[in-house]
């Protein structure tokens, strides 16, 4: 459904016209012609993205859509085959000094230094980023408090639950007060209480003008959190724009999403007619 992406350009042009074409706000992330191939499989097939600054941005798509690959390349953890990536106006691959100090990252499926305690991990990460020790300790204490980890701050991360891991990872990503925060599946496997805590912290953080980019396949969550959405499927961007633009006429983001990724007319299980029948 390419017309929806086109719709965005039109709307944007209209907005630009309304604000007198003022383009002084540079995008948080600009991606042009990004490709990544693993052997025979094309994970990311030439995507263009422009994510506005100061927004809560959701990158949504089914499993295997290329979300993690894209986020890894944008954060400098995976080398793209082709393409140009700018974060906060600086090229990720030619100007790492500027980019790495401005971003916070919570990857999915990578370990932490698990034989450190939660507090030690934050102390290590903050000092590695060159923050003064006292400041690191102060921020760590506050983050541990807000994220409800103060009680287990001296436990080793290896003994943390999934939700605690996500929270300590988030704290480590926030510690240096980055301009742009990239979170890969931050709510995956997280209990509702922790999810609410994470959500509160992120909302407070974006209100300060920072940008959050997070990937997810839970549409309800994206719909309630984000004001900007990019939909990915099979390594391509199917649509990007404000929540309203991407949703279009569909009753919910979920419906719009299913339509976009072409999963609308699937068999709804009529063949399982025995299920729930007489036992």
């Amino acid at each position: 459904m390419p017309d929806r992406a086109d719709a965005r350009t039109e709307t944007e042009a209209a907005t630009d016209a309304a604000t007198g074409g003022a383009h002084e706000v540079r995008p948080a992330v600009r991606v042009q012609g990004l490709w990544k191939r693993f052997g025979e499989q094309v994970a990311v097939a030439g995507i263009d993205l422009e994510l506005p600054a100061g927004k809560f941005i959701g990158l949504v798509g089914p499993n295997g859509a290329g979300k993690t690959t894209t986020l890894s390349m944008v954060t400098g953890l995976l080398r793209p085959d082709l393409g140009k990536i700018e974060v906060a106006g600086h090229d990720v691959w030619t100007d790492p000094v500027e980019v790495k100090s401005r971003i916070g990252v919570l990857p999915e499926g990578l370990r932490l230094f698990e034989r450190l305690s939660g507090r030690e991990l934050l102390a290590y990460n903050g000092r590695l980023r060159g923050l003064p020790g006292d400041e690191v300790d102060k921020r760590a204490t506050q983050l541990l408090d807000v994220l409800d980890l103060a009680g287990s701050q001296h436990k080793l991360v290896v003994d943390y639950s999934t939700g605690m891991r996500k929270k300590i990872g988030l704290a480590a990503a926030l510690l240096h007060n980055p301009e742009v925060l990239f979170l890969d599946e931050p709510f995956e496997g997280v209990d509702p209480v922790s999810a609410q805590t994470i959500r509160g912290v992120l909302e407070r953080y974006t209100r300060s003008g920072a940008t959050v980019v997070f990937s997810s396949h839970v549409m309800e969550l994206v719909e309630s959190l984000c004001d900007w959405v990019a939909v990915m499927a099979a390594g391509r961007i199917k649509a990007q724009g404000t929540l309203a633009e991407v949703r279009g006429d569909a009753p919910s983001l979920q419906n719009a999403f299913l339509e976009l990724v072409g999963a609308g007319g699937r068999d709804n299980g009529d063949s399982l007619d025995w299920l729930g029948g007489t036992r």
Binding site: K100, F113, L128, L156, D159
Partner: protein, 546 residues
């Protein structure tokens, strides 16, 4: 009345328990077969270990049969059986996955009664290479000891009893410790087992040599007279006693084994019931209160200055103390690095230059630095944005290595020289150690940048993930060869001074080796830093496979 209406207590125990044992035996055989079907590598490993075990077992049976009639036969056989029984008890702690084919926790959902379950597990545990090997040994032991009708009778009883005892012992220990084995601490313990074996081999080797020198097998007699009355070996000892006509002792020894077997079965059943009906470890761990510890910069961290160097050093030191894989590597290096020169010196065959082995073993810890981080390397990668950052990171890791290695090298060199009494060569050995250490640091840093590989976190003997073995060999052996060549500017003058009898000048090698080692180490870190900064995504990908 349909099946569903029947009282539960009447229906449940009858159906599943009849013929449970054959079901388990078939299950075990099927699991074995399917495990082999999965990969040709596994099949080859199984067949190889089967052949080796059978050969060993055959050799042992032959040896035991030949021992028949020897005056020390009783001593040797009893001790051997005792060691095997001990092995059965200890093995499940170190190799928890060794027999997960019959992990009782997988049967929790099935309606099984404890008694038939125990029986079935016991019988099916008898299938495998280990039990076959033990059977050969026990049969050989009985043949070696049995004389006369009474001996044969006791032998026939002792063989199955010992087998049952070994298997029951192993299963009881494993079941009682299943919580520990499935917890992080247990997995850490399993990782450390490699260490026990690496160091143990050195001592067994040494012990065997000592035994050959001193009074022979008769030195073992006092030990055997105690082991005779311990459950693992007492059944076999009863054969010896019966053959000698000491029927009272024989019956008592046999009864000890029977009693131990009954006790073990009871304990096994109890822990099995508890295991299958009580909440699992994760629930208990979550309910545990967290330990409180003094927060902030206490202890060592207070001594270190701020900045990347101190931060990285602190993290590395914590990993040496806390991460089982890192700890095992370090302790093995320290132990083997000390044992080889010192034991050789003790036997009078050594040279002070053997002490350089310590520097070499510890220098190897510099290899694959980022693989030791596992995929947590992303945290490091995100903070390295220039070759300077990478240099400071690598230098800090090298400093940790030196912090532990330099005093250790001095100690090993000093003690070796003292034991041999060759103080004249000490400066040469020291200079050589310094140069070797510097070269190992240099090549290790470069290899870390160019040939990183993943270290699997589970298992004691897996230090490379499948597919990266070649990389690891190139890295370590290429690096060691290069380090040897790089040390040549110090090796050559040391040899020259010895050959031309210029021993007085050897002291020159201490500052010489120190300066040369520092220079080559610095150059290696510089080269590695640029490569590391350029290859961060590639390194991360390489170390994230474990």
């Amino acid at each position: 009345m349909s099946v569903l209406d029947a009282p539960v207590s009447a229906a449940a125990p009858v159906a599943p328990t009849t013929g449970l044992t054959p079901v388990f035996v078939r299950l075990k055989l099927a699991l074995l077969r399917n495990g082999l079907r999965q990969s040709t590598g596994r099949k080859a490993a199984f067949i190889a270990s089967l052949v080796v075990s059978l050969l060993l077992a055959a050799g042992q049976v032959l040896g035991l049969v030949l021992l028949r009639g020897n005056e020390h036969a009783g001593t040797v056989v009893v001790l051997l059986t005792g060691v095997v029984a001990l092995g059965w008890a200890v093995l499940p702690l170190f190799f928890p996955s060794g027999d997960d084919t019959l992990d009782p926790t997988r049967l929790v959902m099935l309606p099984l009664r404890p008694e038939p379950l125990i029986r079935a597990l016991l019988v099916s545990s008898m299938i495998g290479i280990g039990p076959l090997f033990t059977l050969c040994l026990v049969v050989g032991s009985a043949i070696a000891l049995a004389h006369g009708a009474a001996g044969v009778v006791f032998g026939v009883l002792a063989v199955p009893l010992t087998m049952l005892l070994c298997v029951a012992l192993s299963r009881a220990v494993a079941t009682a410790n299943v919580r520990l084995l499935n917890s992080r601490k247990g997995r850490d313990l399993a990782v450390l087992s490699g260490l026990v074996i690496a160091v143990g081999i050195q001592f067994v080797n040494f012990g065997a040599q000592r035994l050959g020198q001193a009074g022979g097998l008769s030195t073992l007699d006092p030990a055997a007279s105690v082991v005779r009355w311990l459950p693992g070996a007492s059944a076999v000892a009863s054969v010896d006693a019966a053959s000698d006509g000491a029927y009272g002792a024989a019956v008592a020894q046999l009864l000890i084994t029977v009693g131990a077997l009954v006790a073990l079965m009871w304990m096994w059943q109890r822990s099995l019931v508890k295991l299958m009906t009580a909440p699992d470890g994760s629930t208990l761990a979550a309910a545990e209160p967290t330990r409180e510890k003094a927060s902030g910069r206490g202890g060592l961290s207070a001594l270190l200055p701020e900045g990347r160097t101190a931060t990285v050093m602190q993290r590395s030191l914590r990993y040496v103390a806390r991460d089982p894989k890192t700890k095992a590597a370090w302790v093995t290096a320290l132990a083997v690095g000390a044992i080889v020169p010192l034991l050789n010196a003790l036997q009078g065959t050594g040279s002070v230059y053997f002490a350089c082995f310590a520097a070499g073993m510890l220098g190897m810890q510099m290899y694959n630095q980022f693989g030791q981080d596992t995929s947590a390397f992303w945290m490091v990668a995100l903070t390295i944005s220039s070759p300077r950052d990478a240099y400071v990171e690598l230098r800090a890791r090298a400093l940790v290595l030196l912090l532990l290695t330099l005093p250790f090298t001095l100690l090993v060199c000093g003690v070796t020289a003292a034991m041999i009494g060759d103080w004249r060569s000490l400066p040469g050995a020291l200079g050589l150690s310094f140069a070797l250490l510097g070269s190992m640091l240099a090549t290790g840093a470069v290899a870390s940048a160019l040939f990183p590989y993943s270290i699997p976190q589970e298992g004691a003997f897996k230090n490379v993930v499948p597919g990266q073995g070649g990389l690891a060999w190139i890295s370590i052996f290429g690096g060691m060869l290069a380090a040897g060549l790089l040390s040549a500017p110090v090796i050559v003058p040391v040899i020259w001074m010895h050959v031309t009898d210029h021993h007085d000048a050897l002291w020159l090698m201490v500052p010489g080796g120190l300066v040369y080692g520092a220079l080559i180490g610095w150059a290696g870190l510089r080269i590695a830093a640029g490569r590391t900064a350029n290859r961060l995504p590639e390194i991360l990908a390489a170390v994230s496979k474990g």
